[in-house]
């Protein structure tokens, strides 16, 4: 279908994101939500960046379940990855997205950070549920992942290259994400 829509002479589509050859329902919804989350919450209109943020998040978040990460690997972009998507994003979306996981909270202080950041968590789930925090870089690569055994811990970021990172907390059935910006004062001083 992708080729027919792309090559339609009088209309059709400007780009298609599709499976090659076919997908799985659970993964589809995950990919759609990550794609739209990147596009709406981060105001990312670059098709390639939104597409790959979704792929990276789903692949990195499900490394041992090929029913989930397999279809994400197969998710293929038929179109120009540098295309700027023409979809208006207004200001009302941010507030709506904030309570997507009311059952858990994740904060990072200070943010931006330099050598260390304190990550603090709270969850409505019963103690003893498995909680884990994962840190991804801007390309979606998993940088660190660790079990959460306290309400907070200090993460050393001195070895992290300066940039934007994604923090993802999973507490029982709840997940929440937060952005972390790392910049190094020493580098700035130079």
């Amino acid at each position: 279908m992708s080729e027919y829509l792309l090559e339609a002479p009088n209309g059709g589509s400007i780009a298609n994101v599709a499976y090659c050859p076919c997908g799985v329902t659970t993964t589809s919804q995950l990919l759609y939500k990550e794609f739209l989350n990147t596009m709406f919450k981060d105001s990312e209109h670059c098709l390639g960046r939104a597409f790959f943020a979704a792929k990276c998040s789903v692949i990195a978040g499900n490394p041992t379940n090929d029913t989930i990460y397999g279809p994400a690997v197969l998710w293929t972009l038929f179109g120009d990855p540098a295309l700027r998507i023409k979809h208006h994003v207004g200001s009302g979306i941010e507030e709506n997205l904030k309570p997507q996981s009311p059952g858990c909270r994740l904060s990072a202080v200070p943010n931006p950070c330099d050598a260390t950041v304190r990550l603090s968590f709270s969850s409505s789930q019963q103690a003893g549920n498995c909680s884990r925090v994962a840190i991804y870089n801007a390309c979606g690569r998993l940088i660190d992942s660790r079990a959460v055994r306290a309400s907070s811990f200090d993460l050393r970021t001195s070895s992290f290259p300066a940039g934007v990172y994604l923090l993802r907390l999973q507490a029982g059935t709840h997940t929440t994400t937060n952005k972390l910006v790392v910049h190094h004062q020493a580098a700035l001083a130079r």
């Binding site: 279908m1 992708s2 027919y4 829509l5 792309l6 090559e7 339609a8 009088n10 209309g11 059709g12 589509s13 400007i14 780009a15 298609n16 994101v17 599709a18 499976y19 090659c20 050859p21 076919c22 997908g23 799985v24 329902t25 589809s28 919804q29 759609y32 709406f40 098709l47 390639g48 597409f51 792929k55 990276c56 692949i59 029913t67 990460y69 397999g70 279809p71 690997v73 197969l74 293929t76 972009l77 038929f78 120009d80 990855p81 540098a82 295309l83 700027r84 998507i85 023409k86 979809h87 208006h88 994003v89 207004g90 009302g92 979306i93 709506n96 997205l97 390309c139 690569r141 998993l142």
Partner: protein, 275 residues
């Protein structure tokens, strides 16, 4: 905006040495049949601030002569990722891939044994451009943003490039940039409802919904065509794919034969296609 393409734009790489050492943040890998169609797209990307280079697969095959054609393209990508400065952030493959003899295999795709889940029709392998983009580490996470224009003729390439350039250079106005279409089979309709409530309604978007329960196949196909033609900027397909190409539940919601009825040339959507 008219794009003037210099005759000696210098986008096309013509020597093996320039494949080995170069720099671009937007790289086109194309079959030579389509090269001439791509200059307006290269000029557009350059006008938007990209460093653009274009490489033809025949030069890649002769410069990296070991293995299958997919391996040679992969070897080129590894060279690019390791030694080009800047190295590409965006990679565009131009040319369709075909694993049988029904079409030409212009830019091949790597085939892998299937994952553990069941594919429709008992397929035992899959192809993924993702392989060309996983250049760092031993994971499946792509390191560059890769896409493909699956064209089979020079005319297809020219038409698609004209679409992209027109899309990017026209004003961002019109209700269509605030409108999303959902096409859902009955069993997938809740997925569309969730996306609508989470993203589109709060954004103030108009949502055009085609659900299997709306009517007969003929009605659904007509409604989907009407949705495209009224103008939407995103299409979220939450039904199933089928052969010949169509979006289906227990009824047909849209078929490849309906594409000829589309007249939305001024309002082209990005389609999230589940099928």
């Amino acid at each position: 905006m008219a794009l003037v393409v210099p005759l000696a734009a210098g986008y096309l790489i013509t020597t093996p040495e320039s494949l080995q050492t170069n720099g671009a943040d937007y790289l086109v890998i194309t079959h030579p049949d389509f090269t001439s169609a791509l200059y307006p797209l290269c000029a557009l990307r350059e006008s938007l601030g990209h460093d653009v280079k274009m490489a033809e697969v025949n030069l890649i095959y002769s410069t990296f002569p070991t293995g299958a054609r997919t391996d040679r393209i992969r070897a080129f990508m590894e060279q690019v990722y390791a030694h080009w400065n800047p190295r590409p952030e965006f990679v565009l493959l131009v040319g369709d891939a075909c694993r049988d003899s029904t079409h030409d295999d212009f830019v091949p795709v790597k085939l892998f044994p299937k994952f553990s889940y069941d594919y429709a029709d008992g397929l035992t392998e899959h192809g993924a451009d993702n392989w060309y983009a996983t250049l760092s580490g031993a994971d499946s996470i792509p390191d560059v943003f890769i896409g493909r224009l699956p064209v089979n003729t020079l005319g297809d390439a020219e038409s698609l490039v004209t679409k992209i350039v027109g899309y990017e250079t026209s004003p961002d106005t019109g209700l269509w940039t605030h409108t999303t279409m959902f096409v859902s089979s009955d069993d997938r309709a809740p997925d569309g409802v969730e996306l609508e409530s989470l993203y589109f309604k709060p954004n103030g978007d108009s949502c055009y919904v085609v659900e299997e329960s709306d009517g007969s196949s003929a009605f659904l196909r007509h409604k989907t065509v009407a949705g495209f033609n009224q103008g939407v900027s995103l299409v979220c397909h939450s039904a199933h794919g089928s052969q010949p190409p169509s979006w289906v539940g227990s009824k047909t919601l849209f078929s490849y034969t309906d594409v000829d009825s589309l007249t939305n040339s001024g309002a082209l959507p990005v389609v999230l296609d589940r099928g």
